[in-house]
Symmetry: C2
């Protein structure tokens, strides 16, 4: 390929331009990471401006007509190459991004970003005083702007372009029936599990000193395969993963001393995201391909490591003795089985981010449906809190005590937009078991190896089949390549049924299939 | 002024453009700070590229002919305003920067930056194996490029444009006689002091645990006036100060557990730089005025706090009891007088950065003279080590054991350029006492207040007379405004004579004036 590459200076020019644009974006990410981790409060004012400037220049550079021209000029070159080649993929994905970027006027983006910032501030205040009405006008404007954003694109359903930003190729016409089918299967499973005796999990809510939690977490994620030579871990109020290059992918963690699960599982979750970004092929560095391919695939990797690995019996066969050694006082009287059941307790609750893996998707689908209803004009923002509470009553049998635990709990609608914000979470939950099934089918040793503390088999398989490609393939292409099938809810339902039948000693299959 | 400002949209446009350019520069600084403090090693490759891109875009945006046009269009507006106004100053300083920036072709800058990077790498290696010959070819190229850089400007002496970058208004014809006069006065002082019995300073070279050193340092710099709401302190191999905005000015520190002086005095030194940047008037935020005005003035502020305050008897009247309390084992048998003499011990040595304030300028002037000789073509790079050692023998009576302690000790020539690199250090040492004299003349309470641990009087005076202006005035303008006189070596010589006559119980005035 290198001779062809040399023969095509326009390809090099495109790559050079894209690399510089990526540098601006990476700089914005570093500034954002710094803002969240170490920046003194006095830096806040200028920092907002600095990040905005970097993003504006990145956008300006990317929407330069010269890029459009290069992409046109490179069509014959692209067509002469295989679809799977890095060169063809780079041109194809860049063209897709470019077409998307030039549709949205810069003035609109500036206006929207500015609104997002003030809306976010209003939400922080409104949430703290539990007053939805004070943020309502901002949310109404967000809805207008979200609709306007969608209007720059052709669509069948107005949410489609917004969903497409995060999960390319997904549309309401695909997701609505898929989610509806999932909900129908999930509701009776949740009902059956929550009718069974509640699992005792008080062992998790003792005093777990912070430094010991951090040390144990570090042992775990190093063993899993997180590369500290190409990453680091810091503490922030909300955990996140941030990639500045393939050689620098950082995670953050928050620790609650009275709740053992928070730090560990959110760390493993973020490491799932980070392994993906660290595992991208080095030849993609500095190109738009050097990222996870979609919100759903990204989330599938974090959930795979967090839940399917981190909350598996085999994982704790490996780590529980060590954990007991560190927290002797807290755990010496808790057997591995009790601990395993405790970390997999299912309960109906109000807060999505605290939800177990069985009820989690119900939380997500409530938000997805409400987003669509708002975008369709079927639901007014003023009626949103009631609609929210109504659905929580129907699906989870509880009503939030107030709007801060209800409609205002997630930042997404208030800091970003309405539309495309939530489907990725459930897609991730569905894709994870579908991919994991394929991995285990390829090499059944994977699960046995995990019990022995060997995560390399799984990590290598994921790198080879998912991580290395970055954005070369869309989510749908990737799922088909890896599993030989299209996205399906069956692996997830099977996973849940098998795991929780055993944990709760009930036959979930009966419930799931009778619907 | 606000009505005039409103009436002139071109001024606003200029400000907006400059603010965005500053954002790019600030981003580059954040990325550099991160690289030095927290970045994992895997991030290095992409980080170099990211910083280069930011600087390139900043340069590209600044040399945009539209800025030149705005500056032209704003001439009448500038002329209608007072010289001291922020608006007139902004236009004046920006024009100066712009004229300087557009003279240097972008291709040259790119070439030079690239060379600086490889030369720096070569120096790191060469220094570690004490082999000047391996870095010599790089240094020869640096000399060529430094001369080429100078050639884009009109000059009397080829070093003038290079000096002007850091210390505007300074030229070889001003500095050569000034430094020569200084050297003539200093040599006999150094001779006299070093002929006196050596001060016992072993109390400083005991084991001082790191965390205690950091805690004490933090107490000191908070008391001095460093604002941790608008800054922070981290550890790095080489201490530096980095400003990302007036609200975010950070310092770094290195700690040697077997040498008490290193961490504390370098911290106070960096805080001197940081107080300057934190003290700039907020209305200058986001403009090119929001910086220290010259290398010499900047260094004067760090040296003023490090030496004139931090190494003063009054300072330790305040802090020594506290220090003894923290390091009881180390210092209980050392009186304040012994301690004060120890931290002011004068000795001939090879390393500039470790030098006391009396011999320090001799180190600097050696480098200054050698820079000029190389630029003039009077000294070949291959003869540099010999010339270096020769001058050390003449001026300091010692010869470095090898080139890593000699000609390769400072990064400047290897990582930046030849010319304009060193005069700022001595200018700072001269300006500091000249400014301090003016401060104490204005309010004699300043020195008494320091003994009582009150640094506010001095800090406020400096803010009012130096810091707030940023780059509004050049160094020469500022010195004249503050002291009513031009730069002079007398305050420095008087300061040294008074202080060290007392410490060494000898009459230095005799030596100084007889030359």
């Amino acid at each position: 390929m290198s001779t062809l590459t040399l023969r095509e200076p326009k390809y090099q020019e495109l790559k050079n331009r894209l690399s510089q644009i990526r540098d601006l974006e990476a700089a914005a990410s570093v500034l954002n990471w710094d803002q969240t981790t170490y920046m003194p409060t006095g830096g806040a004012y200028a920092r907002g401006r600095q990040i905005a400037t970097l993003k504006e220049f990145a956008h300006e550079k990317f929407t330069d007509p010269a890029i459009g021209q290069l992409l046109e000029d490179l069509r014959p070159y692209e067509n002469s190459l295989s679809y799977d080649s890095t060169e063809a993929s780079l041109i194809r994905i860049t063209r897709r991004d470019y077409d998307r970027a030039v549709r949205v006027p810069s003035e609109f983006m500036a206006k929207f970003c500015q609104h997002q910032a003030v809306s976010y501030e209003a939400w922080v205040k409104a949430k703290s005083v539990k007053d939805f009405s004070s943020v309502q006008p901002y949310l109404e404007r967000t809805l207008d702007l979200s609709r306007e954003l969608a209007s720059f694109f052709p669509y069948q359903h107005i949410a489609d372009p917004l969903i497409d930003f995060a999960d390319e190729g997904m549309t309401v016409s695909i997701l609505r029936p898929l989610f509806s089918q999932l909900r129908q299967k999930l509701l009776p499973i949740v009902e059956a599990i929550t009718s069974a005796p509640l699992i005792e999990d008080s062992c998790l809510y003792q005093h777990y000193p912070k430094q010991h939690q951090l040390n144990f977490g570090r042992t775990v994620i190093e063993r899993i395969g997180y590369d500290f030579q190409r990453g680091r871990q810091d503490e922030t109020p909300h955990p996140f993963t941030s990639s500045f290059s393939i050689g620098d992918v950082r995670i953050t963690t928050r620790v609650y001393e009275e709740n053992f699960t928070e730090a560990l599982f959110s760390t493993v979750h973020e490491v799932g995201h980070a392994l993906y970004e660290q595992g991208i092929a080095l030849e993609l560095e500095g190109t738009p391909l050097a990222e996870g391919t979609s919100s759903g695939i990204h989330e599938s990797q974090s959930r795979l490591w967090e839940n399917m690995v981190g909350r598996s019996r085999g994982f704790w066969e490996c780590f529980y003795p060590q954990l007991q050694g560190i927290f002797l006082k807290q755990l010496s009287r808790t057997s591995i089985s009790e601990f395993y059941r405790a970390i997999n307790r299912v309960a109906k609750s109000c807060i999505r981010t605290d939800a177990d893996e069985v009820t989690y998707n119900l939380h997500v689908m409530i938000r997805f449906d409400l987003e669509l209803a708002m975008l369709e004009g079927e639901l007014a923002v003023s009626d949103l809190p009631d609609a929210w509470n109504e659905r929580y009553k129907t699906d989870l049998g509880i009503v939030p005590a107030d709007d801060s635990e209800g409609v205002m709990q997630d930042v997404h609608w208030y800091g970003e937009m309405i539309g495309g914000m939530f489907q990725g979470y459930t897609l991730g939950n569905l894709i994870a078991p579908q991919i994991y099934e394929a991995a285990v089918k390829f090499d059944p040793e994977i699960t046995v190896a995990i019990e022995r503390g060997n995560f390399t088999l799984l990590h290598k398989w994921l790198k080879q089949n998912i991580y290395q490609y970055g954005r070369k393939y869309t989510a749908n292409e990737l799922i088909r390549r890896v599993t030989g099938a299209d996205l399906s809810i069956d692996p997830f339902i099977n996973y849940i049924q098998d795991k929780y039948s055993e944990i709760y000693k009930i036959k979930l299959a009966t419930y799931a299939t009778k619907n």
